[in-house]
Subunit: 115 residues, 2 copies
DNA sequence: GTCATAGGCAACCTCCTGGTTGCCTGTGTT
DNA sequence: AACACAGGCAACCAGGAGGTTGCCTATGAC
């Protein structure tokens, strides 16, 4: 049932994990850098930051674990690229919440105006 | 320039803060509970969780600080409600990233197929 | 007035996270 | 072969996050 209904708490857990991964300025910066299209090496991604290569590596692993990013080895370097699905999941969650919220507000408004 | 262009790093910082706030299962659960529409008291929000009232309060403060939630005092209780704007901001960021990413992929595809 | 309820404040504790450094391995390059 | 470059692994450290407990205040109910 990987793509089926999944219990609400499971959605919550995976969504939270993705948000947590995105909830760090450095990591969000990496994600932004990766929107360029081409997969980039760790050394390349490190350039421009104030961090060590190891520091950046750790962040990349975090992003990879929740599926926001994918790594592929090319020769001696490992390049990272965005993975749209996880981002879509996160967006999906926000869409869902916003939708529920809007509906609720609409209902409240209707109720108030009904008199 | 609160609603104007804002430098990229500022967007990064505030987005990261919102994601970080959402990046906790308990907090995401609270957000979900609040999509119902009516503002809810702390005691009410605590019921059903395994946490202390104080624990929940802390989480609510976190959500409030990044603007995901708003609190209003009613008598002796303080009720919390969702605030759509912050969620929209987060969604906006994801939309932007996805868009950039899709565009980049399209360009790559065009480039490869051009031969 | 008295009591119960809703919440704020502060101290405290534990564990995770972000970050570093040092060293080892693997892959190119010349 | 010798060297340089890209990265992995592990230990280590400081600070922040999640969570609890204890106590105090304010508001509502009787």
């Amino acid at each position: 049932m990987s793509n089926r209904i999944r219990s609400g708490t499971a959605v919550l857990k995976t969504s939270a994990a993705i948000f947590a991964a995105l909830g760090d300025e450095t990591r969000l910066g990496l994600v932004t850098k990766l929107t360029g299209g081409e997969p980039q090496s760790i050394a390349h991604l490190t350039a421009g930051t104030k961090l060590t290569r190891q520091g950046v590596t750790k962040h990349l692993r975090v992003l990879e674990e929740v599926g926001v990013v994918r790594s592929l080895k090319v020769g001696r370097e490992s390049r990272f690229a965005l993975e749209a699905k996880a981002l879509d999941d996160a967006r999906g969650y926000l869409d869902h919440v916003s939708q529920q919220w809007d509906d609720a507000l609409a209902r409240l408004k209707a109720f108030v105006e009904q008199e």
